[in-house]
Amino acid sequence: MRTEDRLRDALDEAGRTVGPATLRTLVAPRRRLITGRTLAVAMTTLLLAGGTAAFLQVRETNEQLRTMTMGFPMLVHEHRPGDPELSVYLCPEESPFPVCQTNGAATSEQKVNIEQALRAMPQVASVTFKDHQTSYDEFIRKEANATLARVVEPSDLPESFWLKMKEDVDWTPTIQAAKGLPGVSNVVNQKCFNDFGPDDPRILRCQTLLYLEDGSFLVS
């Protein structure tokens, strides 16, 4: 049999494995929906390709979420020498992180306290603050997924403090202490993602998984 015919037959049979009767219904996206039942989605660190991460909180419906998780963005936040190594994320409203759920968004007083506490830590060389808009701008710049980029708003991206660490110090006490500060949702070691390639299973040490209501999960 000629190649063309074999190819036609194979494609034909492959095509027939999907019939019209069982097709999932297409769901039209709703415009940005904050109203209605909002689904705590995620403070997520998106990690890919040996790069790192940004936190993101999106409120959407299950259906859209599924769509989005599937098309999840390749956020490559390349960590270069001299960049801040630790990022301390603040609790936004409706955070899926349990530590934020009891007390809600970080208050301005908490923010002041967090910054003071971070600056007072002996291992920390410098502290910079990243607001919603700055994080959003970075996110949009790196975001290849148009759907996600469209539904995300500046307020979805939490505020954060970025720490540059002194040389040759143990980061563990800083990470532990920062995680315990009221108003902090999570602390991420940005450099960790650079230390392991994307196929290295040890990269799982850099992330935690967040399970969503629909059974999917996000890497954070």
């Binding site: 190649t3 037959d9 492959a14 095509g15 996206p29 990690l47 599937m70």
Partner: protein, 175 residues
């Protein structure tokens, strides 16, 4: 069946086309297209859904109905490309694992020959694979394929020829 366009308005009158309607009318073909590219049905349906959501979110209406189908097919192919790209670097699967149709674990295909052909197809460069699927499953013309893939018609022609030759070689056939 696939190339049939929705007739909108009076004949001869240039009407705009609702992209959502095109998706709905051609969902089956689009899912099959994605399936042939990504290998499993769940991912294929996700790709189509995402392409639908993305185009629909812009409430896009195309001025040229003749190009509408090429447009949605391109959107689906783009979605497939990004899935395949992500798979190369993905740390974790987000969707439940389903064996691809060309794998031995899949019960979807009956014939061993089919599987062999699909496996060989999968090994081809991405463009050749796309072009061969559009030609030999959807029976599109060079021009339609070119438009769907965003390349020139001569490029489409030569991509098909090269792809077919490579496939023949991979299957151990005489040129």
């Amino acid at each position: 069946m696939e190339v049939e366009l929705l007739s909108v308005g009076e004949p001869g009158v240039r009407a705009s086309v609702d992209v959502a309607a095109i998706f709905a009318a051609h969902q089956l073909g689009l899912v099959r297209l994605a399936l042939m590219m990504v290998g499993d049905r769940a991912t294929a349906e996700d790709v189509v859904q995402e392409a639908f959501a993305r185009t629909h979110a812009g409430r896009k209406r195309l001025r040229d109905p003749d190009r509408a189908l090429a447009y949605v097919r391109s959107a689906v192919l783009n979605g497939c490309r990004s899935v395949l790209r992500k798979r190369r670097v993905a740390v974790r699967r987000v969707v439940p694992y389903e064996p691809p149709i060309w794998s031995a674990e899949s019960a979807a295909l009956v014939g061993e020959d089919r599987r062999e052909v699909l496996l060989a197809l999968r090994e081809l460069p991405r463009r050749q694979r796309e072009a061969l699927i559009l030609r030999y499953y959807f029976d599109l013309s060079d021009l339609e394929i070119a438009e769907t893939m965003g390349i020139g018609a001569s490029g489409a022609r030569s991509t098909i020829a090269r792809g077919l030759a490579a496939l023949g070689r991979a299957l151990g056939e005489d040129a």
